[in-house]
């Protein structure tokens, strides 16, 4: 899929990246004003990864996501009003106020869930891939995780199972350079995390994670491989989160200069330059406006919804 020269995909990629950015800026603002509680893990600066990856997926395909999962959720097609309602602790939220940001899921669009446990979704993705295989389906599972996940046992066990069983899973590492405050240079000895793929006998590739086209190309190749029954691939997307790990982060472990350098590589600004000829200034501005309006409408709808009610609190502990 040509995200640069083809106006349809270009617009979709730009609009979705802006939607993620505006959604998270709004969340940041609501939180700062005391209107949203809990904690938030923002993916501002990383928008090209979920957008590039999810454009390589079809209806019926699955994803598993992370605690920094707003972007994955939006890119996979979730409704903004139900997402915002969940974050605002409303009854109309995706999880009826029981999940919040870290557990948001939209099963209808194939999003099997964000996960508060680092690497928790990796073996689950393998299992979803196994279900597809056993049913003889053509669906693919994309498992998103960060650089912090690759030293968890769950990551190794999940990747290995997918590899030995040739499961249709694409492992997408969002290497944003820090596992909370632990820099990648202190967390592993390999130069690139994609080298880890060799240990499991699967292909591994590192791409510019601030370029949705590069992410898309790598994930689309991996998806084609998976659909052909050739098994999993590890795609490492190099990116950066502008904001802290969560709302309590004082950013003591990285410099202002480093953050500034990465802000200059803003995936959205870069993409706008590259699609300037394809879309034109008016259309680019229209994408920005549309994203802002979609997020505003979601906040309005969520604010008008009833709060999650404690009356039904014990209802969904067990399925009937």
């Amino acid at each position: 899929m040509d995200l640069i020269g083809d106006a349809g995909p270009a617009r979709e990629a730009l609009l979705t990246m802006w939607t993620i950015r505006r959604f998270e800026e709004a969340v940041d603002d609501l939180f700062a004003r005391g209107l949203m509680h809990g904690t938030m893990h923002l993916s501002i600066g990383q928008e090209a990864v979920p957008v590039g990856a999810c454009l390589a997926l079809s209806e019926g395909d699955y994803i598993t996501s992370t605690h920094r999962g707003h972007g994955h959720c939006i890119a996979k097609g979730a409704r903004l009003d139900e997402m915002m309602a969940e974050l605002l602790a409303k009854e109309t939220g995706y999880c009826r106020g029981r999940g919040g940001s870290m557990h948001i899921a939209d099963v209808a669009t194939g999003n099997l869930g964000a996960n508060g446990i680092v690497a928790g979704g990796v073996p689950i993705a393998a299992g979803a891939g196994l279900a597809v295989r056993m049913r003889g389906g053509q669906e693919v599972v994309v498992s998103f995780f960060g650089d912090g996940a690759v030293n968890e046992g769950a990551w190794h066990e999940g990747v290995n199972l997918a590899a030995v069983w040739d499961l249709p899973v694409v492992f997408v590492c969002e290497n944003n350079h820090y596992g909370m405050s632990m820099s990648v240079s202190r967390a592993f000895r390999v130069k690139q995390l994609s080298e880890r793929a060799a240990a499991y006998g699967i292909p591994g590739v590192t791409v510019d994670g601030n370029d949705p086209q590069a992410v898309h190309d790598a994930v689309a190749d991996a998806v084609a491989r998976a659909r052909a029954g050739e098994g999993p691939t590890l795609v490492e997307a190099m990116t950066y989160r502008w904001k802290g790990h969560s709302k309590s982060d004082k950013n003591l472990y990285r410099t202002r200069e480093e953050i500034e350098q990465w802000r200059e590589r803003d995936p959205i600004a870069r993409f706008e330059q590259r699609v300037a000829n394809t879309l034109g200034d008016q259309e680019i501005q229209a994408c920005r406006d549309e994203a802002r309006e979609r997020v505003r409408a979601a906040i309005r709808a969520a604010n008008a919804a009833p709060d999650a009610s404690a009356e039904s609190l014990t209802e969904a502990v067990y399925a009937k």
């Binding site: 699955y62 598993t64 939220g93 995706y94 999880c95 009826r96 106020g97 029981r98 999940g99 557990h103 899921a105 099963v107 099997l112 869930g113 996960n115 508060g116 446990i117 928790g120 990796v122 073996p123 689950i124 993705a125 393998a126 299992g127 979803a128 891939g129 196994l130 279900a131 597809v132 056993m134 049913r135 599972v141 046992g153 769950a154 066990e157 999940g158 290995n160 199972l161 030995v164 209802e315 969904a316 502990v317 067990y318 399925a319 009937k320």
Partner: protein, 334 residues
Amino acid sequence: MTAVAEQTRTLTYAEAVREALAQAMTADERVFLLGEDVGTYGGAFGVTGDLVHRFGEERIRDTPISELGIVGAAVGAALAGMRPVVEIQFSDFTAQAMDQIVNQAAKIHFMLGGAATVPMVLRAPTGSGTGAAAQHSQSLEAWFAHVPGLKVVMPATPADAKTLLLAAIEDPNPVIVLEHKLLYKQSGPVPEAATPARLGEAAVRRTGADLTIVATGVMVSRALEAAEQLATDGVEASVIDPRTLKPLDAQPIVDDVIRTGRALLVQEAPKTAGFMAEIAATIGESPAFGHLRAPIARLCGLDVPIPYAPQLERAAVPQAGDIVRAAADLVRRW
């Protein structure tokens, strides 16, 4: 009673489990097994036997040694519409998989506000008595019973091993089935039909006037053996087997204690914070409290890891003779 008696045959507990698995897989394409050595090897305790020849390697799926990965894969497969049954070779190894059991399987339905279910079963051989020592002999039911979102089953007879497993497979929730490894070779009548039991229904195994013994797992047969001995001395004991710890069917226990006025609670697991503490509290919170003629008594495993030496291993957990003594003491003193 006009109901036709159920057709039964004598099977071992292990054969009963295997029959339940085979019938569930025949009835439902979505059911499949995964675990270490469940295929050609036939399972570490021989439970899966020749199922791989009947159902093939796709559905009787041998896994690498990778407990967390196996349970995680079951969670994902269940979320995506399958009905996985995991065998963890020894229940002790669930420790390796605890994140997927506790933080994923147990919580997903609730965290998603009911939008998804995780219909999976985790079977695990449990308990002591084989000389396998501290890392292969534990009774961990209280760990699982403590986690909202899990159901916990402890079959004590071959019939229950079959019918409770069928119920677990049919249940839309994650269910932990703890099979006692000393029971695998025990025989008993097992119904031929694939009719599941109901989770949350205790079994009154024996009724007596003098005290109520509540026991789980392998302690059920020891309690029944003790009750026979006690009867020769004129002490009549009820023996109640909760069968499922979660959901717990407390009413038959409460009713029986109201009648007998005495409760002896027997478990193999160590005493501290064990499941019988829950039963004791449940009796204490119930109308049975006013009928107690004696303090509630617990007879449990010692608070020690399970040792290797056979005489030490026996001393670490209640034996039938210990139950006789504890029951006689309770009746004599009160």
